[in-house]
Amino acid sequence: MSDLVWLIPGLPFVGAVILIFGGTNLPRRLVPVVGAGSVGLSALMTLFIGFEFLTATPTAQSYQQVVWNWIEASGFSVAFAFHLDVLSLVFIFVITFVGFLIHLYSAEFMASDEGYARFFAYLNLFVGFMLILVMADNLLLMYLGWEGVGLCSYLLIGFWYLDEKNGYAARKAFIITRVGDTAMVIGLFILFKTFGTLNIAGIQEQAPQLWVVGSSQATLIALLLLGGAVGKSAQLPLQTWLPDAMAGPSPVSALIHAATMVTAGVYIIARTHVIFELAPIALFTVGVIGALTLLIAGFSALTQYDLKRVLAYSTISQIGYMFLALGVGAWSSAIFHFMIHAFFKALLFLGAGAVIAAVHHEHDMFKMGGLRKKLPLVYWTFLIGAASLAALPFVTAGFYSKDQILWLSWASEKGNNWLFLAALIGAFITTVYTFRMVFLTFFGEVKTQVTRVPGLAINISLVVLAILSTIGGFIEIPHSMGHVQMVTDFLSPVLPVTSIRPGIESSEWIIQLAAAILSIGGLLLAYFLYMKRPSLHFKIKNSIPHLHSFWLSGWRFDSLYDWLVVRPFVYVANINKNDPFNGPYNGVVRAANFFHRILSFTQSGILRWYLIGVVIGAILILTLGIWL
């Protein structure tokens, strides 16, 4: 069975190829069968292979499969090879299963769209590239998946290509992530020069022997990899593409935000954690970026009108939590939060998609309301997802995953009070914006007609994800509440266990209590502002108009980059359009023409001119002769 590892990413590609070549000739009924079916098969393969891998005796740390030799030239050697270990297994599991549910949802959601086959082809490619990313055994193949994911995000964000705005959002997403990717690729150059290989296992083996902790080269490489990570994961300072990525269909948002793409940055840092541990400065930077991003995005989420934009900012913020966890060395907590986040964020986006489709493509939450009666199933599942995002204590999966990050951001040896404080404030904000969204959308008076009620495929996806968003948390329960450590134990062969500052373990319950209080406090505040006294939040908004618009625009990062990069580039490109290098050459041509005209003037064909010429010439020569 393990020999078939290549099929896990292979199957979605096969699906994509069938859909591309079948195109419009493929019967419409078959499109989702191929599209969702290939990913579903891939998910089944994951189950079998994962089961076999975990139960194999003797237990293997990892499994490699070389499919073919990709590039080999004068000492540069890279194989098309896959690597399976527990870390990649978690990612594969989430990608294929959540990916499958999103495909299932799309089968209904996109059913009347003209580009049905195209949509599923892109979706399959997306899943396939993401699987390559997390299964690659070397960094170049990972880069292939990395870029492929970027390409698919571009294609899917701009899926409805008739609208120029979508095309703009798509290009923005792609070019901004490409900036990060370029940093990463430079990191690969240095890695190759240093180690003579891009094989991840090889680098991890050699790095500790070659570098001491704090080595400047390790720091440089880690920061360059981080550059790639912040691009894909939409972290500061490259976060601006994600809110605009909403231009794509809702399932695409679910896929980008939950199962693929934005988690790539988390994956690469976890995957190369050996380098990051040798570079404490870089690792600390990861934590700081995470903390700042989760706050910035959280405040922005508070002010959004567009339902999907709230979710987008919440993704940036939640990935910030993952970065924070990585930064304090809480490796497995980051992965745990990734998994839980994938469940509830997919659920929320799919729910939001169903809502938006139901109210005739209205995105503004203030124009919705009272939908809980009209869309009961969507409402309940959305509520479960929202509770998980807000980390309501004890019953939601989000509580367990986020609580762990809060605790470790303080308790870990690499943690500190400031990071902890940021995480704590972030937790409060998260609850406020989450329930603001729930109350505005599903409560209050009915403002819009429901024109479309989701059918079976959508309902199944929502329910399954809602279940996962709840029970998913019980696999890792803190010390103070029963101590289950399935995720940490599971990942321990790959990711080191977080070392905790001595003598503070007993205070874990205080942190938990604080988190629980903040979470419930946020819920109550949102209730007060948006249900009890709806006029109050308008007053607050009007009292701080500048701050509000500042947050609404995502802290003006867009205008900043517009002024710093886009405008200068376009300006220079435009004034340079006619290629000034042509100037000298045209000058030569003009000079030649000029002399040609002057000289041709002398060839007038009039005899007396020639005579005068001869005479003047003779005089000149004679004069010269006398002079000299």
Binding site: W70, A73, F76, G148, L155, G158, R171, F174, A573, K577
Partner: protein, 518 residues
């Protein structure tokens, strides 16, 4: 076997003449004769490739060698030889030659015979350039490919064709003359030293040159090659020539003729003038990076689709300058990949521009938009090749650019970083093509039909090639690696492996009768 080397050229020359003659009967005959000529050559070169893949010529990088005395009193031989590098470039030449006949099938309706004559003679000249091992003969073919190309642009080009044709001609002709001076200089320096006056490449390889003389001779060659390549600031002829030429002309220019410049750098500058080349290497690499960034900047602002693609060529050829002058083996492999991949991807973009022109009779992207709706097939292929242009891993250009940059990093990290910024700029202009032409709302009142069967064959072949180069580049790399390394290390490897085998002829199939190498 070795007779096949001049055979390639002779068939092309004869095929050209024959096409011209039979075109009076029917245009179709001319097209078919050209097609079959190129097809025969293509099959032949592929057979040679496959044969040599099975048994890699150990010890020598040369596969075939053909030499007869031509003007013995001046030491001029009709000397041709095939190694891995020329093998690859010939395959590319014949492959794209076939496509250039196919794309002209409907587009060219006037003076069809003359057109195919010119096309085949250009290709013959290019083939000669890639095969010749005698500098005199090399110069001859360098000119042969120039003149028919001039007529291709002048007669079948777009509105501003006269200007473009003359500009192209003057640029290449003037720079070629400098090369001729250098060739003669090298000939006399070598003759004065050794007493053997010869234009033979292998004879001249070991010539010891005083630094100053070496520098001047090298510059003569260099100018010819970097005008052809082209490197900024010698690129001014290219956008005009590319955008005014007929589709096949643009294809041959971009995909093949530019490669003769790259080939010249690898084949002549690097081994013949190693010291001088190394001295200017930092400058040359800087020019390469300048080309990458400047070409990308210009490509971004163009509104003429063919001109836009032409500037992307300037950008991509910068990688070749950068890679060649890094004197790094990995980067040199990247250069070879870049020649192949750029030939295919940029060729494909020019073909697409031509197909669009055939449909809507404009090259202005402001008058395009929303083509995906009516022509999804064309859109999908355009997507593949714009992806190749910005270097999506899995397509040929990525392998090329990555190998180049990873190799250059070993010697010049700062320049590598600047070149890598070019990758972001490439993304910007590539996506602009897609957006302006295929996305957005459809331009009304235009009858658009998706790719015809013939066009699908053309684009299909190109798509398969670029994916093959991206996922399985190893056959290409294996073929060229020895040849390229020999050029990079002329002192230890040429003496050790090439010249002895030239004399003993073991891995060489010397021509049995009348062959002479001296």
């Amino acid at each position: 076997m070795a007779i096949i080397l001049p055979g390639f050229i002779v068939t092309l020359l004869l095929g050209g003449i024959l096409s011209w003659i039979v075109a009076k009967q029917s245009h179709l005959y001319a097209r078919w004769i050209s097609l079959l000529t190129l097809l025969a050559n293509f099959i032949a070169i592929i057979i040679i490739w496959i044969q040599n893949m099975k048994s890699p010529a150990s010890g020598s990088s040369w596969i075939l060698n053909f030499s007869v005395a031509w003007i013995p009193s001046f030491g001029i031989n009709f000397h041709m030889a095939l190694d891995g590098l020329s093998l690859l470039l010939l395959s590319l030449t014949f492959f794209l030659g076939i496509l250039s006949v196919l794309i002209s099938w409907k587009e060219i309706q006037s003076r069809v015979g003359l057109y195919h004559f010119c096309l085949l003679w250009v290709l013959a000249g290019i083939t000669g350039v890639f095969l010749t091992m005698d500098l005199f003969l090399f110069y001859f073919f360098w000119e042969v490919m120039l003149i028919p190309m001039f007529f291709l642009i002048l007669i079948w080009g777009h509105e501003n064709r006269r200007y473009a044709a003359f500009k192209f001609f003057i640029f290449t002709q003037a720079s070629g003359l400098l090369m001729l001076l250098s060739i003669l200089g090298l000939y006399f320096v070598h003759g004065g030293q050794t007493g053997i006056y010869s234009f033979d490449y292998f004879q001249l390889l070991g010539t010891a040159l005083a630094p100053k003389i070496g520098m001047w001779l090298m510059l003569g060659f260099l100018v010819a090659f970097i005008v052809k390549l082209p490197a900024v600031p010698f690129h001014a002829w290219l956008p005009d020539a590319h955008s005014e030429a007929p589709t096949a002309g643009s294809l041959v220019l971009a995909a093949l003729m530019l490669k003769t410049g790259a080939y010249g750098l690898l084949r002549f500058i690097v081994p013949l003038f190693r010291d001088a080349a190394m001295e200017i290497a930092p400058w040359a690499m800087a020019i390469g990076v300048l080309g990458i960034l400047y070409g990308a900047l210009l490509a971004f602002s163009q509104t003429n689709l063919k001109r836009l693609v032409a500037y992307t060529s300037v950008s991509h050829m910068g990688f070749i300058m950068l890679g060649v002058f890094s004197f790094n083996e990995v980067a040199a492999q990247g250069v070879v990949m870049q020649m192949m991949a750029h030939g295919i991807s940029t060729g494909a973009l020019f073909i697409l521009a031509g197909m669009i022109y055939e449909r809507i009779h404009t090259r202005d992207i402001r008058e395009m938009g929303g083509f995906w709706m009516k022509m999804p097939f064309m859109g999908a292929t355009a997507l593949v090749f714009t992806m190749a242009t910005w270097g999506l891993p899995g397509l040929g250009n990525f392998v090329a650019e990555f190998l180049t940059l990873v190799g250059v990093w070993q010697v010049a990290p700062m320049l590598t970083i600047l070149a890598a910024i070019g990758l972001v700029a490439a993304t910007a202009y590539s996506l602009r093509i897609l957006q302006k032409v295929f996305y957005g709302s459809p331009v009304v009142s235009m009858e658009l039909t998706d790719l015809s069967f013939r066009e699908r064959i053309i684009m299909g072949a190109l798509v398969i090639s670029i994916i093959w180069l991206g996922l399985f580049p190893q056959p290409v790399l294996n073929t060229s690696i020895e040849a390229v390394n020999v050029m990079l290390h002329p002192n230890n490897k040429v003496e050790a492996s090439v010249l002895p085998s030239l004399k003993t002829g073991d891995a060489f199939s010397l021509r049995e009768k009348g062959g002479s190498d001296e």
